[in-house]
Symmetry: C2
Subunit: 401 residues, 2 copies
């Protein structure tokens, strides 16, 4: 980078990086507004092409014309497993272990109570990430109260060492929603399993941004949303992963009729399905579910390793551009610098963060604000390019300049 | 009716009834396929006009263009309460007591556990309709297990007499999904309240078909789906009613971040909202929620008393047509004859019911089959007319003729 014209240098560098980006053409798979740099796909993913047409067909033909027959003829009834199997490879999971249904919070409750019931009898502790997204902590407290466990908060960076023979269940976020810190899924999972505890991961901020490897690392249970890096739409249904080895013992606190082995027998006795359907509860939300199914087409032929490589390149480049454009001392990154500890976002602490983000948004750079002092920028490799990143950092520099 | 030509007489009678039907013009508010008589709106309501266009706008503009800003600018965040307030008058509930979210099964779990926690300490029984829709029984068993209660099955026709000082919670279906029997909501609710128990009603098969009167009868908690008589779409989100007097004490087993009094403060301590938002859990499913919101426009200016009057006229006329057209002994109605015990469906028991329903559907009469021997016909006064009813019965007669 020259000392004399950082803008010229970084703009040229962005163009080089975009030209060499093998994922760059995937942006065509999304409908994005003109003139906007969208760095909030870690909160709500952009609209994939095809979703609007699919919704029109589901509403007008499948619902309007076929009516009740669509539960069979349009394969609505089996959508939770089918869409689950479309999510599964993005999580490193073999088919038959993921169902899509309900919200992340509801799936967390199933996973934590179900996890407590899978754990060895007599254990008392539910270890929970002390810096977790709030709903995880609230739901963990309820699950603990209803299963006789005690919540023990842990620093997620030191979770592996906190797991002991009295630990029933461990719940961690794979990536911290605020700082963007990536936690060590393989090591913590191994520690939990070595201690005989059940490991539950919340993948909301990692799935679709980096390889997760649920099967490879022996994770027991996992949950996550589909509206961030998976681009499923606002409030799209979440997912629950139940490792195959646990499915016949998984004892859900929400044993709705959809989890019955023969739901339309409508029998008063509850006999749960012996597979991932055990994670289902009530009638699936078809409009949102099928929008998500089409949205996942954006992942056709995409390797998560390539996504991860581009994600790190994007966040590295953003940090370099911020260093070049923003006067020293105005912002401080709270996202870890080492790649192995970084998710796909950069969080910058600054004064008046709410006002700064408002100003960025008014200039077409959409990130978000997290109280009290954080500017949060998410980098979604399927549709964000390096020129976007340069422009975002340059605009931030102008606001402070 | 003449002895010589029942078809001519009943066809003429249907035309008279349709001509006098003040709700007949509401059919224009729906998109229905040509040539079909749809008598399964008690399972999946028909597509209301306007829903397809609304979905296109939500997807392409609110999601695609406004992106994350729509949580505020398109008022997505407050949709559960806003749509709840649009459902409320259909249930006889004042504003501020209904939230739309999650499935019926999940809302049942909230209501039963929350109900158990509202009940006087030391009580041991959870009374449940022995003939209930299965998910109610399965979820009741889980709620009982997790709150220390014991499920006691009761004949819903004699529920009021079974409630005693050891009863914590009573759960009944307002209308039986199979027989169409309407239970006595005012009397059972009064008995529960007199005994100090918490009364929970499942309104899936009554809401939108007849007046419910939640506030007038002092119901404590209620749940129901929105995809039957409310026409919200396949798997549309369900609702939870929490009577205003209980909202500050309602202790949800699913205390997700959406139920926090200040969710975006993202604080680790849980402080629930002091109103119906306490029934929310996770991020609302916006595509389905807003489709439902538009679907509810079909109720503009409709009095539930008129709906009830037409519903009874439809089922009466159907039973008369069946008596005239179907050879004696071929079918037997298991739906109660007295109006005060009848919902908005007719269930006919017959041999080979599955095959008979298949034949009806192939002739354009859509009802459904419920194992082992029931033909189920739902009568939705907003879009079913008397000529439809006559044709359905006549077709049934042909099959047996």
């Amino acid at each position: 980078m020259s000392d004399t014209n950082p803008i010229q240098d970084l703009t040229a560098r962005a163009a080089e990086l975009d030209a060499a980006d093998e994922l760059g053409k995937l942006r065509e798979r999304f409908v994005l507004p003109d003139g906007v740099v969208y760095l909030d796909g870690n909160s709500l993913g952009a609209l994939p092409a095809g979703v609007t047409d699919r919704l029109a067909d589901v509403a007008s033909r499948e619902w309007g014309e076929l009516l009740i027959r669509s539960w069979d003829e349009s394969a609505w009834w089996t959508a939770p497993e089918r869409v689950g199997d479309k999510v599964a490879p993005l999580l490193g999971a073999a088919p038959g272990q993921v169902v899509v249904a309900d919200s992340t919070s509801v799936n967390l409750f199933k996973a934590l109570v179900g996890g407590a019931r899978l754990a060895p009898a007599g254990r008392t502790k539910l270890l929970v990430d002390a810096s977790t997204f709030p709903t995880d902590g609230y739901i963990a407290a309820s699950a603990a109260r209803m299963t006789g466990l005690t919540v023990t908060p842990v620093d997620p960076a030191h979770a592996a060492g906190a797991i002991d023979g009295d630990t029933a269940v461990v719940l961690l976020n794979h990536v911290d929603y605020r700082t963007g810190r990536l936690h060590d899924l393989p090591a913590v999972t191994a520690a939990a399993r070595a201690a005989g505890a059940i490991m539950v991961w919340d993948l909301c901020h990692s799935a679709g941004a980096l390889p997760v490897g649920l099967d490879a690392h022996g994770v027991d249970l996992a949950v996550g949303c589909t509206y961030k890096y998976l681009n499923g739409g606002p409030g799209a249904p979440a997912y629950l992963y139940i490792a195959a080895r646990h499915q016949r013992e998984f004892d859900s606190p929400l044993p709705g009729w959809n989890s019955h082995t023969d739901p339309f027998a409508l029998t008063p006795d509850y006999r749960p399905a012996d597979d991932a359907r055990r994670g289902r509860v009530g009638t699936p939300d078809i409009l949102s579910m099928l929008a998500l199914e089409t949205a996942l087409d954006a992942w056709d032929g995409v390797a998560m390793e390539s996504v991860r490589a581009k994600s790190l390149a994007l966040t590295d480049f953003f940090l370099a551009c911020v260093a070049a454009y923003v006067p020293q001392g105005k912002v401080e990154s709270i996202t870890p610098a080492p790649h192995e500890q970084r998710g796909s976002q950069v969080a910058l602490r600054t004064e008046n963060a709410r006002e700064v983000m408002g100003e960025l948004i008014s200039r077409g750079i959409i990130g978000d604000f997290r109280a009290p002092d954080v500017l949060r920028f998410g980098f979604t490799p399927l549709y964000v390019g390096f020129a976007d990143v340069e422009r975002a950092a340059r605009t931030l520099g102008h606001i402070f300049g």
